[in-house]
């Protein structure tokens, strides 16, 4: 053997894979910015108790509708002002990040697991199994997502948990479709036949051989669904069907602030901005992830 072999431990291999991924990811500046913002959000959410200057449910009766500190009448202790019942906006926003991230993670997890399982079955077995599953998915897709979520919430009752379940059901077909397409593509590859020749049965083929190779498009879709989940739960909260007051979920905050658009712009604009920035950051990051994970785009 004329090649020189470098001793690579498991950890070194992982580092190499990460380095490769980072090289392609950082070529997309927007994605890198998005990633930092998202990481900032995660930090805020995790350390909300420590970072937030006030308790988000604490009502300061002497400081109702205080403007942000740079405006006339603003107070430094309430950096971003207060809302109609005197709660500190900054603290509420920071705790809102907890809700948003929690919602995003739960919704995407449920939709991902359900969608992957269903998509695997449809893609692997084909035939009538595929037809039945995909038609059910089509029925779900035919409903506007928010409408279906509203119906489900109306049936199950308002509240954050029900809102999350509803949104997860509505997102499931996207993951199912992606998984099915990926499985159908990978099923005919030689390494699957090789696994069959090694004696692998159906279960092993589906979960251990094919599924790990279908993950790239799923990761990208998961990121995008995350941001959609944040948006949708904010919408539901706005409609009063999601997180109930006094929860400091951004959408719920928007609902409570409708009447103050002209009087106290910060009560409306700041939650809206928070939603905008989070969704933008996650989407930019998702774009970058797709570019980095797509092997066909590799240029060298």
């Amino acid at each position: 053997m004329s090649e020189t072999v470098v001793k690579l431990s498991d950890a070194a291999i992982r580092r190499q894979i990460l380095a490769d991924f980072w090289f392609y990811f950082r070529q997309n500046r927007g994605a890198v910015v998005g990633m930092w913002v998202f990481l900032g959000l995660v930090v805020l959410a995790v350390f909300a108790q420590v970072i937030a200057p006030h308790d988000p449910t604490q009502q300061y009766r002497d400081a109702l509708l205080t403007p942000p500190f740079w405006q006339e009448g603003g107070r430094v202790e309430f950096l971003l002002g207060t809302d109609a019942v005197g709660r500190d906006m900054l603290s509420r926003l920071i705790h809102g990040a907890q809700y948003s991230l929690f919602i995003g993670v739960v919704v995407v997890s449920i939709a991902l697991v359900g969608g992957i399982f269903v998509g695997l079955l449809a893609g692997f077995f084909g035939g009538w199994v595929d037809t039945v599953i995909m038609r059910i998915m089509d029925v779900i897709l035919a409903f506007p997502s928010l409408l279906l979520a509203l119906v489900l919430v109306a049936v199950l009752g308002p509240g954050l948990t029900n809102a999350m379940i509803a949104i997860a059901i509505v997102y499931q077909p996207h993951f199912a479709r992606l998984t099915r397409a990926a499985v159908m593509g990978e099923k005919e590859r030689e390494y699957v036949t090789a696994a069959r020749v090694a004696g692998a049965g159906t279960m092993r083929l589906m979960f251990k051989t094919i599924l790990p190779n279908c993950l790239a498009p799923l990761i990208v879709q998961a990121t995008l669904s995350f941001s959609s989940a944040v948006l949708d739960s904010a919408a539901l909260g706005f409609l009063g069907m999601g997180a109930q007051p006094p929860a400091s979920e951004w959408g719920t905050m928007l609902a409570e602030a409708r009447e103050f658009i002209l009087r106290a712009w910060w009560v409306v604009t700041l939650p809206g901005l928070a939603i905008l920035i989070s969704v933008l950051a996650i989407n930019l990051m998702g774009d970058g992830l797709r570019d980095a994970l797509d092997p066909k785009l590799k240029r060298s």
């Binding site: 072999v5 036949t193 696994a195 090694a198 004696g199 049965g201």
Partner: protein, 281 residues
């Protein structure tokens, strides 16, 4: 003279659906092929694309059931259409695929690739599996450090070695090799062919070797079967076939294969020089 594998009147039909409103067509990819291979020998199946050689390979490797005909492994008739393969039978016939870049799972470490056949088919404990895998890795010329790596970290030739190692994990009697060196560079091809020859000697393996490259076939085959459009147009011992090809298709194949002898080159160069001289006064 033990026959490791024997096929009689093997046929394979594919049903091609012509849409919702038309009847499906049947394409016969393999038409009535007979063959037999003795232990320790190599049968080369030669054919071009569309000849049915890959289809036949899948039948011999017990992946697909033939539409007709009988397949016998070690004297036992095997019909995977009727009964699922036992671990024992599955271990007898293994396969090496053509594409070194597609036949290894990109998400599976090499060590796991080698241990998987043992995990599925034998009750061997984990450390014994690991020992066997490491031993096989060394046997094909790789080193223990390669155990934890992913396929994309290897070259084409190395991947083919891993594929060969995987095929040998279950101690098969027969190895079906579908164009194993076609996608490899010439120098790497030589290494892999040497490895295959060594392994055949050591383990008394029987090979069914599919190739379109006549020079490779001439080098490794004991017997040759020429396949054209699903039909075995000619078969026999290597020397006889290469000395006097009988069928027109075989002769056409030979005529089309490039010749690298110095004499042939000299003749061609002279012809061209004459032609060029005739053009310019």
């Amino acid at each position: 003279m033990t026959l490791v594998i024997e096929g009689k009147a093997l046929t394979q039909d594919y049903h091609v659906s012509a849409g919702m409103f038309a009847a499906s067509k049947t394409v016969r990819a393999v038409r009535g092929v007979d063959f037999a291979v003795e232990r320790g020998k190599t049968l080369a199946i030669v054919g071009e694309s569309g000849s049915g050689k890959s289809t036949l390979a899948r039948i011999i490797a017990l992946i697909d059931a033939p539409s007709g005909g009988v397949l016998k492994v070690d004297g036992q008739t095997v019909d995977i259409g009727r009964k699922r393969l036992t671990s024992d039978m599955r271990s007898k016939v293994q396969m090496v695929f053509q594409n070194p870049y597609g036949s290894l799972n990109p998400r599976q470490k090499v060590g796991d690739v080698l241990m998987e056949p043992l995990l599925i088919n034998t009750p061997m404990p984990a450390d014994e599996r690991r020992d066997r895998a490491e031993a096989m890795l060394a046997k094909v010329g790789l080193i223990p450090e390669h155990f934890n790596r992913y396929p994309h970290m290897f070259s084409g030739g190395q991947r083919q070695r891993i594929a060969i190692a995987r095929a040998l994990m279950l101690n098969p009697a027969l190895l079906v090799l579908d164009e194993p060196v076609s996608a490899l560079d010439l120098s790497v091809q030589a290494q892999v062919l040497n490895l295959l020859a060594d392994l055949q000697d050591e383990f008394n393996l029987t090979y069914v070797f599919i190739s379109h490259d006549l020079s490779v076939v001439r080098y490794i085959a004991d017997d040759v079967l020429v396949l054209s459009d699903g039909v075995a147009v000619e078969q026999g011992p290597r020397e006889a076939l290469f000395a006097k090809p009988q069928h027109a298709y075989t002769q056409q194949l030979f005529a089309a294969t490039p010749v690298t002898s110095v004499a042939a080159i000299k003749a061609r160069v002279e012809r061209r020089q004459l032609a060029r001289a005739a053009l310019s006064p």
